[in-house]
Structure formats: C-alpha cells, structure tokens
Amino acid sequence: MLHCKNGRADSLVLEGRVVDPGEGVDAALRVVIENGVITRLEPGGEGRLVLAPAFVDPHVHLRTPGREDEETIASGTAAAAAGGYCAILAMPNTDPVVDSAAVLGSLVEEAREEALVPTGFFAAISKGQQGAELTEMGELADAGAVGFTDDGRPVVSAGLMRRALQYSGITGRLLALHEEEPTLSRGGHMHEGVVSAELGLGGWPALAESVMVERDLALAGYESRPVHVMHVSAAESVDALRHARGAGVVATAEATPHHLCLTDEAVRSLDSNVKMNPPLRSEEHRQALLDAVRDGTVSCIATDHAPHARHEKDAPFEEAPFGVTGLETAFGALHTYLVRPGVLPLETLLERMSAGPARAFGLPVPRIAVGERANIAVLDLEQEWEVREDGFRSRSVNSWLIGSRLQGRVVRTVADGREVFAA
C-alpha cells in the first residue's frame, strides 16, 4: 500500500542509544545495516544520539494533483525524510479529488518516480467529497487506497456515514473521519471561548467536533466497524472515545503537535500561522488531549501537514486559509514543549509517532530488531536550532514555529533500508 522510488538498499552502521519502546529496548548499541536490513545489534554504541524507530505520519497533505506550487510528492516526502518519517499517508482533498482509480493510479505512479519516503494514498469517502454518493471503494482499494476519508470536510449525512461504514467493510480499509458539525462551526475562525469573544472572531465550538465524534462512534458500534478519528481537539471527543472503546468499539484517534503544544491564547497574535481546522483550543482541552496521548486513547500523533502558498497566508487572519505545515518540526516541537518539561515521556512520544499510527492503519510497525528492514530516525536530543523560513524542504513555509528555538532534532533518517536524510 506504500510506494516510493526504487533505489539501492544501503549498508551502514549507526550507533547510539537505541530506544524502541515496542521492543522494550533502551540500550547503547551499534546497529549494523546490510543491504537495507538490520543484521546485527552489538553492545557498546557510543555518542549522544538516540536511534528510534522512524516515524509514521497518517495525515499529510501533499497538494498533488492541483496545487503543486504548495507541495509536490517530491518536496513533501523530502520534508518527511527530514522529519524522521519512514512512511506517510496523503489526504485525498486535492484537485481533482482522489475519488477514482484513475486519479489514484496516477498518484501511485508518480510516487514510484518521485517519493523519497514510502507514501500511501487515501481515497475519498464520497464522490468529489460532496457528501452525497459513495466512491467506488472496491475498485479504489484494489488500486491501492490505504483507507477512505473526506478530510477537510465532514460527512454531514448520518445516513451516508452509516452506508460508508457498511460498504467499506468489503475493502478491509479504515475510514478516517474529519469530525465537524458544519452548522455549529459555520463562520468560525477559532475556538469559541473567552479569546474569541474578546477578539470578535467567529467561534468554532468544541462541541461542533464532539457531537459528530459521538454520532460516528455510535454508528461504528452499531455496525461493528472500526473507525479512526482524525485531529482530535476537544476534551469531549476524548471522553467519547474512551467511553466507546470501553464499550468495545474499535476506534483509534490522532492528535497534532500544534493542538498538543498551543492553545487559543496564541491566536491573540492574529498570526495566520496559528489558524487551523480544527482550531487551537483552550488549556483544559489541551490537557485532556495530553492525558489521552499518555493513556493511549489517542495512539497516533499526526502532523496534518497542510502547506499553503505564502501569498494566501499573507492575509488578514479572517481571510487566511486554515492549516500549518508540520513534517519537519514535529519531533523538535514535541520534544521541546512536552518531553523536556516532563509533560510526556520520550518513550511515549516515540511510540505515538511510529508504532501507534502504523498499527492503526495496518502498516508494518517500524522496529529496531535483527532481520527487520531498517526504518530508523536518528535524533540529537541536545541540538538547539532555530526554525527558519529558509530551512524547509517543503515548498511552503506556513509553520507556527517560524523564529522559535527548539531543542532536539532529527539528524538522519533511514526509511525502508535507505538513508533518505542526513543533516
């Protein structure tokens, strides 16, 4: 289900502190890679680097086809490589929408030519993401769709959502859901709360997300089908997930670095690089998300990497599009703002950025073990760096971290047995 350009498999030796939470390993080791496969783990690795299973991002916008000025498969996967990722999944809200085997097939071909890092493609749930008719899910799955989503838009009709749950069962692929009740979020540019009241910006209340999460978990339970809830932002959504999982519903969920690190207070800057959908929420919501990441209710950290042209983000807050980039800064930001202050253990972060999302979507789980294909992110936890506009491999620079100093950086990435990034 993942595609990238062909190339030689590398042979190299990495050394440092191997931290693989899934394998229960935390030891100084030398990792010997021959022809892309880990052949030996020898004691005595030196240096301050951490070797972790490379990351998996289940939520990336590659903007191809249609907005290649913002991102291409080549630039987006180069950004992923620089962020320590060995697999990414691309959203289908492109122009045209990935709702036919023809569009999907051309993307797969392009990925085989251009993708530096293995890339999978979602197809849409509804034709044109219009929320009216199901896509040809059977054919799309045969053509390589990793799952189905109308991301960017909710599936408004409960009836269509139920049918999508029923029908997608024949494909064995997961539905990934953008949860937003549009009549409650309409006109919203930020979280509804004290800050929106003060700024006069239209509010996008937390319950516009959670009422849809509750609806879809109820439908998933009724149809005995698994679902994945994307970019969870609200405490009530987390509660609903916990409750449904307790009742036996198979539901996974993801949270983004920006929702875990920032609150709606950041919007006071009126910087369009803190405008995203769902919006940054208040501190109680952020704390609930952190709890959910700790206890595994949210088992995936996804960047929702959403490149936008500079001229479109260089606009008044209300007129700017939603979305921020994240592939190249995710680890640095989460390490700086959550691991270093002791909010989240390093092992938990590494698990939620790698094994968590891989398991949710049935992808191979990156492991640092003999006999495994090498998928390793080499991390320098001490390195301080400044996020700068001229430092991105992505074609877009709409990062909420421009000008921030971070501590902790990906310095080398091995994906599918090949070195794809070295700082």
Partner: protein
C-alpha cells in the same frame, strides 16, 4: 507554552519603535487621559475663525477604507487637514482592489510613498496588524471586522466625559447586537481602563459566549438599563449576518423587546449610538431626535479625538506632549 514569534517583513523597522493604535489594549489609562485632554485643547482651537493648525505640516496621512463609512472616513480626513497634514483617501471600490490586488500589495504600494500614518478600515480581523507588519507607517485601526474600533471608543469616552464631567464610576449599558460589534469590544475595554462599569444587554443569540471576560456584566433584560448613566444603543448589523442566518426571530420582536424607547429611559440618562442608526429598530425615533441623544455630539467629538490621536502618534510619546496645548507646536496658524 510556545511563544509565537512573527516573522518581521523586510523593510519594516523592528517592532516597538513605531507606535500604532490597533486596539484599546495598546493604550494605558494615562494614554487615554492624555489623548482626551489633547482633544479638549484642540476643541477650543476649533472655535476660532481660522480652524487650521500647522502642527502636522509636511506629514502624510493615508486613509485606506475597505468598508463603507461616512463618519469615520470624513472625520479622519478632516482631522488630518485641520492639522495641516497631506492626506489622501483610498476606497476599495475604484482602486486596484477592484482588480484583485491583495491587501499586502496595496499596503506595500502605499508604503512606497512613506506615509507617516496609515488609517485602515477593513472587514477582516487582523488587517491593520498585517499592514503594521508590512509597512513603516504608524497604523491606526479604523475598524477591523468585529474586532476593534479604538477611535470610536475614545470619542465615546470624550463625549461621556464632557456630558458628566467624569468617567470614573459611570455605569454604561450597551444594548443590542454585541456579537457583531467592534465598537463594543473597544468600548468595554476602554471603560474598564478608566474605571467605568459596563453592562451588556441584548438577546442571548447576539451575546458572544465568554464576553464577561472583558470585565462586564451581561443581561438579557432591557429593564437593566434603568440602572445606567449612559444607554449606548448598537446598530443591528444585518449586513454581517449570512443569508438565512437570523439571530432574532424578527426585527419587530427585537424592537419590542430591546428597542430604546422613551418609556424605558429615566431622567438624567443620556443615549448614545455609534451610527448609522436603524430608527425604529434599536432606537425609537422619538429618542433619536430628543435632547438626551448625544449622537451628533459624538460625531463632533470624533473630529477632535481623531486629531488628538494623529497628533499623539506623530509626537514622540508622552514626554513630547506639551502640558499647555496652546503652546507650540499647536499654535494657531
């Protein structure tokens, strides 16, 4: 918590060197009082035969208006002219904005003339902040969407101070469409800054959740205005409501429940309105035309307060403001 840092655009001097009036939060109580005092001194100069002052000769003030305006644009234009500044006004219609030019490019074009002040009105929140980042001018927010309209709040304070002789301890009831009102957001903050008390009154659907955080009380009952010194009626902003998006069942029901009528007022109260008025909706015509309505006084206050704001921004801050404004640089031409 991460600190958000904004990238400085090339060409703009570092922040902190230029003063802007983007919102009331840019001002301290002392700033507000200084501006109101300056306005008062300027008002006396306007009683003279020759009304022009040489104070801002050689300075350039650009008015950039992306929304229709009568009061604000005319008073900024006249304020700049009365202070002898060169002034030009651009409206979005009839300019390159009609050809799809972005705010960024329009701002950079105007910045090429090195204006001292850019006064901007825009329907989108954050537009003045963008212009402040992109240009080297002092930027005055003349209204950005539902966010802020700081000079309106200052002229309202000026009007109240003239009417009551004080601001400290006044009780102001702001009635109506709070949700869409940038005037309210600026005025509530400004009133809190000078020690006055505010109650917001209106239907629950037009009351933003969390607005109490600005330091005001909220009531859905029109009777609450009985307790106020100033009853401030807001315009029902139907143009900011999407098609089919009614926040009240009908204007008729709104007028009956929340309209400012003579019967709902007590002796000693004054009524204010930022204009333009919807007579018969938020304000009964009998009130609008009565002695207690200070609407035209507000317009007159707008001129002197905007003169004071331009003067204040272009002098180098509190230290440079003369205590006796009759003295140079405000001497009569």
């Amino acid at each position: 918590m991460a600190e958000i840092k904004l990238a400085e655009s090339s060409g703009a001097p570092p922040r902190g060197q230029r003063r802007h009036l983007l919102g009331i939060s840019d001002l301290s109580r002392a700033d507000v009082e200084r501006i109101l005092d300056t306005a008062r001194a300027l008002a006396s100069s306007l009683d003279r035969d020759v009304k022009k002052l040489p104070t801002l000769r050689g300075r350039t003030v650009v008015n950039l208006f992306y929304e229709s305006s009568t009061r604000t644009l005319s008073s900024f234009e006249l304020a700049a002219k009365r202070l002898s500044a060169d002034t030009m006004s651009l409206r979005s219609s009839g300019s390159s904005v009609d050809k799809g030019e972005s705010l960024k490019d329009t701002a950079l074009t105007l910045a090429a003339y090195d204006p001292d002040v850019i006064v901007i009105r825009h329907p989108a929140i954050g537009a003045p902040h963008l212009v402040a980042r992109l240009t080297g001018a002092h930027v005055v927010n003349a209204g950005d969407g539902k966010h802020q309209h700081p000079t309106q709040a200052l002229l309202d304070l000026y009007t109240m101070r003239e009417a009551f002789g004080r601001l400290e301890g006044l009780h102001v009831a702001i009635v109506g469409d709070v949700l869409h009102s940038r005037v309210t957001r600026s005025l509530v903050e400004a009133l809190a800054l000078v020690g006055a008390r505010t109650t917001l009154v209106g239907p629950p659907t037009l009351m933003p959740r969390g607005i109490e955080a600005l330091g005001c009380a909220v009531s859905y009952e029109i009777e609450t205005i009985g307790d106020a010194d100033v009853v401030y009626a807001l315009r029902m902003q139907s143009e900011r409501m999407g098609p089919g998006e009614a926040f009240v069942p009908s204007l008729r029901e709104y007028a009956a429940r929340w309209g400012i009528t003579p019967e709902r007022l007590h002796p000693g109260q004054v009524v204010m309105h930022p204009g333009p008025m919807n007579r018969g909706v938020e304000i009964d015509p009998r009130v609008a035309d009565s002695e207690v309505a200070l609407v035209t006084t507000q317009v007159r206050s707008g001129l002197v307060v905007r003169m004071a704001v331009l003067y204040d921004l272009l002098t180098s801050g509190p230290a440079a403001v003369p205590t006796a404004v009759e003295a140079s640089p405000l001497e009569v031409a």
